[in-house]
């Protein structure tokens, strides 16, 4: 296990380095930010002076090394627009993002497991058909549109929930519902397919023939097998959610990472871009490493390999 973790750590460092380098190159290719920071009547000379003050007059290699030094020391510099620590601004957004990601992920996953088990235990075709249909309908609607529908029904029509902002637990409901339903559908598909496939296999039939309860077979034999692909996907998904969910954040004016990062990209606010990407890359790597470790513990085949 230790060499495995060491390998993953090295991989994580390489990933972050690659992310930062790509962001640096692409960022510098799109122009310097001075022209976006000053009012329309500022002259080119004033814009040039600002760009120089921000360090854009230095050789590109020096700027890159400076970025790397910042990466190592954790000092990404101040946001050009807000003149506050870029890392501070990113970290300020993390709780909102984690809150949304966690609830969407947890509710989606738990409900999907519950639904998949219910389908197996009841053997109900109606239940499966309903879940399948509802899932297909949800998946065919883009997040932003589904979010707007929820807002129209629950906020505008019923006046029951706030349509935007992060002011109370109530403001969590609609954004979480938007994301969780999307997550739910994915996991339900995966689980149902896996469980249904196993239901016809010899080890399940044998166990039932031996007189074991269907629920026991389901929980002790089938579910652990079905959990592996779900875990793999959950790792990717949770990593993605932690990276910010721009569409939902924009619709609900949710103060998460995604909006901060996309705004920073369009504003050429490079310190925020760098700090944000490093955070997202690390979150992604950590979640996926944790999932891999978990999978190795559950799956005896990969543990032996």
């Amino acid at each position: 296990m230790l060499p495995f973790i060491a390998r993953r750590l090295a991989l994580a460092v390489a990933t972050v380095l690659a992310v930062v380098t790509i962001a640096f190159v692409l960022g510098r290719a799109t122009g310097e930010p001075g022209g976006l920071l000053l009012p329309d009547n500022a002259t080119q000379a004033e814009v040039d002076a600002l760009n120089a003050a921000l360090g854009f007059d230095r050789p590109i290699v020096v700027q890159y090394l400076d970025t790397l030094v910042g990466l190592v020391t954790g000092d990404f510099g101040d946001s050009y627009r807000l003149r506050e620590s870029a890392l501070g601004l990113v970290l300020e957004r993390v709780p909102a993002t984690v809150e949304l990601a966690f609830w969407a992920f947890a509710i989606g996953l738990v409900l999907a497991v519950a639904a998949a088990l219910a389908i197996q235990l009841t053997g109900s075709r109606v239940l499966r058909a309903v879940a399948g249909w509802a899932g297909a309908m949800r998946q065919s609607v883009p997040d932003f549109f589904f979010a707007l529908l929820l807002v129209l029904v629950f906020s505008v029509l019923l006046g029951a929930l706030p349509s935007l902002g992060r002011t109370s637990y109530a403001s969590l409901v609609l954004p979480v519902l938007t994301l969780a339903t999307g997550q739910f559908v994915m996991y339900l598909r995966l689980l149902d397919a896996s469980l249904s496939e196993q239901a016809g296999q010899d080890f399940v039939r044998t166990a039932i023939a031996q007189g074991q309860r269907r629920s026991t077979v389901l929980f002790t034999r089938m579910l652990p097998n079905a959990a592996l692909p779900v875990l793999g996907m959950a790792g990717l998904n949770l990593g993605g959610l932690l990276g910010g969910t721009v569409v939902v954040e924009v619709v609900f004016a949710w103060p998460g990472l995604g909006k901060l990062l996309t705004d920073a990209v369009s504003q050429r606010d490079f310190p925020i871009v760098q700090a944000g990407l490093v955070f997202v890359a690390l979150a992604f790597v950590i979640v996926n490493t944790a999932v891999d470790v978990l999978v190795r513990r559950i799956d005896t085949r990969t543990a032996a390999a």
Binding site: D40, Q44, L82, E84, A118, S155, S163, V251, P255, S266
Partner: protein
């Protein structure tokens, strides 16, 4: 366990989960209903379309942030909702004869919310700090200032590099900070806990989330009716409309296509008022076929401005004949454009020997001009109708802005200018003076006229403006397209007058 028992257990679990969800939802209904007790609400929640920058008014100069600063700081003068100049921290101002020296007399007894007296020293300090940093966001508004000094406790004197008749208007953008406090805590800490002398004080700042203000107890003027103001950045048009319709927001800027929707609902009222801006075509009159004045005129003649304002924008804009909006000081009814005459455009093109050379047309696909893509396509269609070939080049707003700043346009481009001073000086400097970002023509006559208006006042100044704007139309250096309206959705009970510049100032606002 028998099959049916398990089934009922699962059913029970499902029912429990469903009840839990419902409970959560119904509890949530209790939020935001604090003002439902029949009394007029005393808090305004307003959406601003973009994130404000730093809350330090010395360093921060982005327009959107003025919607905060107008409430929390004093500026020397105010621009009223209809664009007039009015006293604020200064009660009167005079200049010497050649308009190079301006004395402002300050109001007596003004105090910042922490008790520090606001005197001429504080004004001089605020301006001097901006002047000391040429890379600052506010520097461009004060580039005419050579020096600033406090003459006595209530008099500030500005000495300018050259005559500038509209100088007082530029001071409406510069907030005055209490000098001792600012220096004591330093700029960074001040940005976290800003102190000013405006009618409101900061209650809490959550960067990019909400800027909450509460009525100041020590304001020198008449206390506003509204006790609390919360300014919240909401970037999506759709979310702003829904925010107002659902009661999460009291007032929010909306796009022209949403006005009819909101109007039809009855749950909100719509405010629409002509803005201080002009949407126009910039023309690189030195490039390719555009170097021929006849082709530039043909472009102007070919565009049906009313098709844009009445059709595309549902009447929420007026065709523009000059490069200034009617609300802006310097606008003149006498300035005319060549009008809409496709037949004459075709003649001019034939005369000029135009052979279908493609003209690049840059525009931003989002951002500052609502429906900019559709506007660009409408213009392309008009131009195609008379035989002009257009090469449409869309980019995001920021990339487009950087191209404008770098004067990189090769053909025509869609742009807009809305002077926050509601005076013609800022845009006309940018259009017609040598260093102007939109000045491709580099015509010495326009540069001369743009400078000349600063040295004269009153009708003489308006005459110079009219001459300059007419000349610009004749030469086809720009094609003014339309003056858009600022549109807002608002709580049905809000009694409010929108400003021409689209910024918020709620110090006169009430709920009916």
């Amino acid at each position: 366990m028998p099959q049916h028992a398990l089934r009922s257990r699962l059913l029970a679990a499902g029912a429990l989960a469903a009840t839990g969800t419902l409970l959560l939802t119904s509890c949530a209904g209790g939020f935001d209903d604090a003002a439902a007790d029949g009394e007029a609400p005393t808090e305004i929640v307003a959406a601003i379309p973009t994130d404000p920058t730093s809350m330090d008014p010395i360093r921060s100069g982005a327009l959107v942030v003025l919607s905060v600063f107008f409430h929390t700081f004093d500026q020397l003068v105010a621009i009223t909702a209809d664009g007039e100049l009015a006293p604020k921290l200064a009660t009167e101002w005079t200049s010497n004869d050649d308009l190079t020296q301006w004395d402002f007399t300050l109001r007596e007894g003004v105090e910042a919310s922490n008790g520090e007296a606001i005197t001429a020293e504080d004004v001089a300090f605020s301006y001097q700090t901006i002047l000391d940093d040429p890379t600052g966001e506010n520097f461009a508004y004060l580039s005419s200032v050579a020096s600033v000094e406090a003459i006595d406790e209530l008099t500030v004197r500005f000495t300018l590099n050259s005559p500038f008749s509209a100088f007082p208007r530029n001071t409406s953008l510069i907030s005055v900070v209490p000098a001792d406090t600012y220096q004591e805590v330093g700029a960074d800490a001040f940005a976290q806990e800003p102190i000013g002398s405006g009618p409101y004080v900061f209650d809490s700042i959550r960067t990019g989330v909400s800027y909450d203000l509460v009525r100041s107890e020590s304001y020198w003027g008449e206390a506003p009716e509204i006790e609390r103001i919360s300014l919240q950045p909401v970037s999506s048009d759709e979310s702003r409309v829904n925010g107002v319709l659902s009661g999460s927001l009291d007032v929010a800027p909306i796009g022209p296509t949403q006005v009819a929707t909101v109007d039809g609902q009855g749950a909100a009222q719509v405010f629409s008022a002509l803005s201080n801006g002009v949407v126009f075509l910039g023309v690189n009159s030195t490039s390719g076929v555009l170097a021929d004045a006849r082709i530039r005129e043909a472009i102007s003649l070919a565009i049906d401005k009313e098709a844009i304002t009445d059709g595309l924008l549902s009447g929420l804009a007026e065709p523009a004949t000059a490069m200034l909006a009617p609300a802006v000081e310097g606008y003149s009814d006498d300035v005319t454009d060549p009008g809409f005459d496709p037949e004459r455009a075709r003649e001019l093109l034939a005369e000029a020997g135009y052979a279908g050379e493609a003209i690049p047309f840059d525009y931003a696909t989002d951002g500052r001009i609502p429906l900019s893509s559709e506007v660009a396509q409408t213009i392309q269609a008009s131009l195609a109708d008379v035989g002009i070939t257009i090469d449409l080049r869309g980019a995001d707003q920021q990339a487009h802005t950087l191209k404008v700043r770098g004067r990189e346009m090769q053909g025509i481009y869609l742009n807009t200018w809305a002077p926050s001073t509601v005076d013609g000086d800022l845009p006309l400097t940018d259009f017609y003076e040598t260093a102007g970002n939109n000045n491709y023509a580099q015509d010495p006559l326009t540069a001369e006229l743009a400078a000349e208006q600063r040295g004269v006042t009153g009708d003489a100044r308006l005459d110079v403006f009219a001459e300059l704007l007419s000349y610009s139309n004749e030469q086809g250096y720009f094609v003014p397209l339309y003056v858009p309206m600022n549109n807002y959705a608002a709580d049905p009970d809000l009694d409010w007058t929108p400003r021409a510049d689209g910024l918020f100032d709620f110090s006169q606002t009430v709920f009916k």
